[in-house]
Amino acid sequence: MSLKRRDFIRNLLIGGASVPVLSACGGGGGGGGGDQAATPGQGGQETGNTPDTPEAPRTLRFIAVGDTGSGGQGQYQVAAAMEAVVAERGCDLVLITGDNIYEAGVTAVDDPQFLEKFEYPYQNLDLPFFLCLGNHDCASTVFGGGSDNQRGDYQVMYHYSRDRYSNKWHMPARFYSQAFDTSRDTPFLELFVVDSNPLTSFYLDRDENFNWANYGYPQQTWMKRAVGKSQAHWKIAMTHVPYRSNGKHGNAGDLDAHLRWMFNNPDADGLRYKAFLEECFADRADLLLTGHDHSLQWLQPAQAMGRTELMVSGAGAKTDDFKDASRNPVRYQNDSEYGFVWVELNEDSMTTVFYQVSPEDGSLRIGHQETRAKPVTARVLEPA
């Protein structure tokens, strides 16, 4: 098991999947951010990789955790719990749904917060982490207003930094896609990561590179195309701000209904963001992973999102009470404990375990466990 994982990681990091190289500078994603390079980049030594057994079933495991970057006890408690689960059940990678560095991101590529809020807490987890930007990563105040998107660029730069502490941090661009297990013709999984902050921030960013015309819509166009042409068996989308949530931030289209009066961004309710997610991912991604609200939620599918499963995993360091626990119907939800989600993807099914971590003593328990059929049928390629 661990050997397989090793192989996998080596594939990934050395020979394996290449990453769409988006420019690391703010707004650089605009214009399409370069072509998606998720075609299986057969590693040099792996080119003659003949299948040992014909089409052995593939599997892949990951942990999804979010709103992690406090550097405090909560983050360490959750990290320890993740270590235990990785040891017990195996894990190939970790997804972080944003707010990687509280409260106001980093302001340099050598900002010590990379150590305090990422490297040290996860130093015992020898896994690649794929991260997305949250509002606190792009904020200039503790309030997380998200009006300083340029700050997010330092988190992209850290991905490319030669001086980084470990090679775990993966954020090749502000928004990107990443293919996994590319040993066959089609990847087993492709991850699509959205930069939601410029689309939904509380406060307007004065930098016009991040407005909808220069950044939001080009991102949407790029993402729609990337998902559309992806041939991956599993497709998972990750973004910070939820499509639906029972937490205080609420549903896209009506985000922060009770706080909004303080905001100056007319897009703060997420009206355009909601359409973004629907147009890019509805019935195309199997799973939409989000954070932002500090709780674990597995929501019932929403009509406008088709069969795409919706999850909120934002309890990686903090908890917040639900604002309206019955706002949306759920498969499972918990707002009183830290936690994360462990997922195993198989050819035809997805096993999901919601782990809850007690804020009192850090003890770990399973909150919910469920195996479901793959939500979205993999598309069979039409002959040319």
């Binding site: 909808w212 939001g216 009506d254 007319p266 703060a268």
Partner: protein
């Protein structure tokens, strides 16, 4: 040569290209299962037994001319156009109708010949969707049946989607209430030989009972049939039949292809998805009424049914070369939530005007249109997109405050989230050259379209800076607005200062507008009528506004656009040729 081939193939090889009856089920459908509509070309009446399409066996008939409701054409594509007629022949059913299409009004150069059938299940209406050899070409057509020949119709195919097109002209009409006056506007539009098509933005018929909504000052009576409010399928059919007896409307259909959408009165006043202001429980289930109204609409209007199993879906797109993409929307039946009457409800984020599917479709069309390099993206729809207010403040969605004090919650003002979504998309796309065409409101308007017209930081009322698109509103053919010109002028003097995006409004005159499109401009010329109280041949040029390529705001022009040079001749004014 090629044409010959085409003709012989379509007429004799049994392919019966585009030979369709108005019955959706084709020749073999059960009498009760058919829906109005047309099949795709090539699927109609395959292997029709008996006589060839050229000489179908006619039943014996000794009655009067069965072509009582004229001919019509519509929904032009590059190589297709819907052809329509209706037979009135007591006692007969399943009546064969031969259609002929030619390049000339004398039918010397036939390009198509086919057969349709007038059936009782479709109210004896006949619709064909022939394949025609050339895009951007004027054709003449006629029907023959029971020993009679219909008036000669004239139609025009659209340019091929990729073709370079220099000049297009469209007449835009709406709100033709027969008891409220004479269709002088249709008569004037009919005479314009240089039009590519006529857009009808709805309220083609009105559902009211005789006397409920008519002009008491009308010089002569304009009775409608049936005299009661129309509710059942039979009622709606009779109402269309009544309107189609009007010679001016017949003439307009005869000369031009129409592109139509319904508004509310094709069903009932202020219709929405599941009801209407002018519908009560005593009138039965609204769903039944809606179904009846929609069925009669497809039977009687020269429109192509895009999805035969989804007749409520009328929204559709037309590509006119590289100059124009025309998107026709349904703001009534497919997705509209019920009207409300307070500003806070109008801001309800859960309410929709277009519905999820149509909204997403619209966004895709805008992206498609830009992607294919169309110069103008024209949205034909019913209710006013721009605010109509008695005072405009900066809009603050986060406070759910500001914007305007709305006057009419039936228009987009009552669906602010839907408007924000559309304008937000145009803004996000940085899409230039969007033009919105509107009917419904019985008056003429020229407006900039801004997301926040009351906010000087967003929109400059003096320069038009910040405007995202333009909106032109066509007046009614007959339906009334302000009772006098003086009142209209008074209202204009009040409304223009209160609505920064509003450049011109006329609330009194009936008429129509002509949209003139070139690579440099999209221009609306309003033509107004002196009267609709009696048949009258006069009209006058009222105003002209244009938007230049890339400007996205209106400016006034002093003169109407020049007509097209070398317009094809109108169809001759011959009536049915007796045997």
């Amino acid at each position: 040569m090629k044409r010959r081939e085409f003709l012989s193939r379509s007429a004799t090889t049994g392919l019966s290209l585009g030979v369709l009856s108005a019955c959706g089920g084709g020749g073999s459908s059960s009498p009760d299962g058919g829906k109005p509509g047309t099949d795709n070309p090539g699927t109609g009446n395959p292997g029709q037994p008996g006589p060839t399409p050229n000489t179908p066996e006619m039943p014996p008939y000794g009655g009067p001319d069965p072509f009582q409701h004229g001919v019509a054409s519509g929904d032009p594509l590059a190589n297709q156009v819907i052809l329509w007629t209706r037979l009135t022949a007591a006692g007969l059913d399943e009546i064969p109708v031969i259609v002929e299409v030619a390049r000339d009004a004398d039918f010397a150069t036939l390009v198509y010949q086919g057969v349709g059938y007038a059936r009782s299940q479709n109210d004896f209406t006949v619709k064909l969707d022939p394949l025609l050899p050339d895009p951007e070409t004027t054709y003449f057509y006629r029907f023959r049946s029971l020993g009679f020949t219909s008036p000669v119709g004239r139609t025009r195919t659209a340019p091929a989607p990729g073709a370079q097109v220099d000049h297009l002209r469209l007449a835009v009409v709406s709100c033709s209430n027969l008891p409220y006056g004479w269709f002088n506007a249709y008569a004037r539009v009919a005479r314009r030989a240089d039009l590519d098509a006529v857009l009808h933005l709805g309220d083609y018929i009105y559902e009211y009972a005789q006397g409920e909504y008519n002009d008491p000052d009308l010089a002569g009576p304009r009775p409608v049939d049936p005299p009661h409010e129309i509710i059942t399928l039979d009622d709606y059919r009779r109402r269309y039949a009544c309107y189609r007896r009007d010679p001016d409307l017949q003439e307009c259909h005869r000369q031009h292809p129409f592109i139509c959408v319904w508004d509310d009165h094709e069903i009932a006043n202020d219709a929405w998805m599941d009801g209407a202001e002018n519908h009560n429980e005593g009138e039965g289930d609204f769903a039944d009424r809606k179904r009846a109204a929609v069925r009669a609409y497809y039977e009687w209007m020269p429109i192509r049914m895009g999805f035969p199993d989804r007749d409520m879906r009328i929204y559709r797109r037309f590509d006119y070369g590289d100059l124009l993409t025309l998107v026709m929307l349904d703001t009534r039946l497919i997705g509209r939530d019920q009207q409300v009457d307070s500003p806070s409800e109008a801001r309800d984020r859960n309410r929709q005007l277009l519905g999820q599917d149509q909204r997403q479709w619209l966004f895709e069309q805008l992206e498609y249109s830009r992607g294919r390099g169309a110069r103008w993206h024209v949205i034909g729809q019913q209710v006013m997109l721009s605010p109509l207010t008695l005072g405009t403040l900066p809009d603050t969605p986060n406070w759910d405050l500001g914007g305007g004090a709305q006057l009419n919650y039936d228009q987009w003002d009552g669906y602010q989230t839907s408007r924000r979504a559309l304008l937000g998309r145009i803004e996000a796309m940085a899409l230039d050259n969007t033009v919105v065409l509107t009917g419904d409101i019985h008056s003429s308007w020229a407006m900039d379209v801004s997301a926040d017209p009351g906010n000087p930081l967003v929109y400059n009322r003096f320069t038009g800076q910040g405007s995202l698109a333009v909106e032109f509103v066509t007046p009614a053919v007959t339906s009334p607005a302000a009772p006098s010109k003086a009142l209209s002028d008074l209202a204009r003097a009040a409304l223009v200062p209160l609505n920064p995006h509003l450049k011109w409004v006329d609330l009194f005159h009936r008429g129509y507008l002509v949209l003139d499109l070139t690579a440099e401009h999209c221009k609306a010329d309003w033509f107004h009528l002196n009267t609709v109280s009696e048949p009258d041949d006069s009209e006058f040029f009222a105003r002209s506004y244009l938007t230049r390529d890339g400007q996205n705001h209106v400016e006034r022009a002093s003169q109407p656009s020049a007509p097209k040079t070398a317009a094809p001749p109108l169809a001759p004014a011959t009536q049915g040729i007796k045997p």
